[in-house]
């Protein structure tokens, strides 16, 4: 990220900030989409994070830290959107269906469906840590900074989330085995 752009935006230069939005907007939005799994919510979260960033920019001490800083704001915005959404969203549960499982070439697709279902079941905090580490490629420490939690918490959340996702795929594999041997 260009330091000069950040510094100009810190001094109220709207054009500079607009250019910053152009540079980080796609990345922020893609992260928000994956955390929230709802594009409308993701748009709101991204907009909220960027406007928070604009408001708070004069107090950013190190312009070189703009990108991790704005990711941190995004994580908060995602939490806020998820909380807001929970208030008026009923519980949705994916039910297993009885259709025959597709043969091996499609196993990966079946796994992907299981993965998707399991991923949606995770809390927003667990989804966030998975996205930060396995989508953005952050280290545990970087994710901890973004989520404002201790590194140990990030590791334990990641451990829980991966176990949950793995179990979903394992369960599907077991089901397939049982069907093929029946």
């Amino acid at each position: 990220m260009e330091r000069r752009l950040v510094e100009r935006a810190m001094h109220g230069d709207e054009d500079a900030f607009d250019q910053l939005v152009g540079r980080v907007g796609d990345s922020l939005y893609s992260v928000a989409c994956r955390i929230l799994r709802d594009r409308s919510l993701a748009q709101d979260a991204t907009q909220r994070a960027l406007l928070d960033a604009w408001r708070a920019l004069p107090r950013l001490r190190d312009p070189d830290r703009f990108e991790p800083w704005v990711h941190r704001l995004l994580a908060h915005a995602c939490y806020a959107e998820a909380r807001r959404e929970r208030r008026h969203r009923g519980a949705l549960r994916l039910l297993p269906h009885d259709e025959p499982t597709l043969p091996d070439p499609a196993t990966r697709i079946a796994n992907r469906d299981q993965l998707d279902g399991a991923f949606r079941q995770l809390s927003v905090e667990h989804r966030t840590v998975v996205v930060l580490v396995h989508y953005l490629g952050m280290s545990a420490r970087e994710a901890a900074e973004a989520m404002e939690t201790p590194v140990g918490t990030v590791r334990s959340r990641l451990h829980y989330a991966l176990n949950h996702l793995r179990a979903a795929i394992d369960a599907d594999a077991r089901l397939e085995t049982e069907r093929s041997t029946a």
């Binding site: 607009d18 939005y29 406007l51 001490r61 190190d62 900074e145």
Partner: protein
Amino acid sequence: MNGRDDFLDQLEDYLDTVEGSTPLPRSVRNAIRAELPGTRQLGPLRGPMRFLLMATQLPRSSRYGLAAAVVAIALIGGASLLVGSNNPAASPTSTPSASAAPSGLASSAESATVDALITAWNNGDGQVAAALYIAQPTVRFMINSSDISTYPTTADIASAVTTWHGDGAVLKRTGDVLAQGPYLGCTVTWTSSQGTFNGALVVHPQASGLIEAEYLVGATPTVAPGEADGTDVVKALRAAMQTPVVPLALRLGAGTPDLFATNVHAWQWEDDTQGGPMPITSRPDVVNLNLPGGQPATSYAYAVETQGPFVLYSASAGDTGFNVLWLTSDGLIQYSWDIRIKLDSPAASPAGG
């Protein structure tokens, strides 16, 4: 699934492709651009916050120690106010003065292991972070403020332990920490030359960025550790108050630097004019909290910014800060120091009455 690597490959492939292409919609970017002119940027930090920002330029251990001292003094000041301390050094009016800083630096050399919970927060717009923890047996706390990019880590906090033993007064934790997250609450005792007072301490941030410390005398919270959020703790503390406390009004005396409270029912205050500890219930109409007693006149300039249940007064000459003292509708006294407002004329004559 054929193994861990395969699973992670699948997961990362899933994350890469699940949402397809995700450019930020033009409508969002336009909406952001449209809102910028009407969205005011926060100003650079001033007053004590500027002081804290300057502190961030120090080596990390000194930085946190310094900040810890500021908050420590603020907390103790708030507590001493409510237990009726007449000790000028413990008065909250002395809290934000710059002269308090060197003692914080000295304290930062102290080190200890972290044996308790840590809480951290920001003020909603990501500008003020704070961390606080309590280690047995003495309350220890610190704050990291001013910049979201410098949140403290556990290691930072461990290296910046500061314990407050101001003028022989010690605030000790007597029970479990009741909550983590945006609030932290616990039972404490305040011991000073004036005696020992049991109570509870709740520390939490405000949306404005103020750090609030509430000290409740006579409270015995019953919330089980780990089962409550901060709101529950505050409710429990309030419910546990042995004597109902009604809202009171605070004002500065006309022509004097004294602060008066009315409608106080529950607490005992030391009042020299009455020859010793005096139950406030004996004078439910008005009580002189005697905040500035004994302080050099040049150190303080009082000006009432508001009347009624909210008092704001400068804490020292110049723009080194000011104190805010107010009451909630629930009867809690809240004490804090603010960072953004500068009194126009520190030498202004008192306007209260």
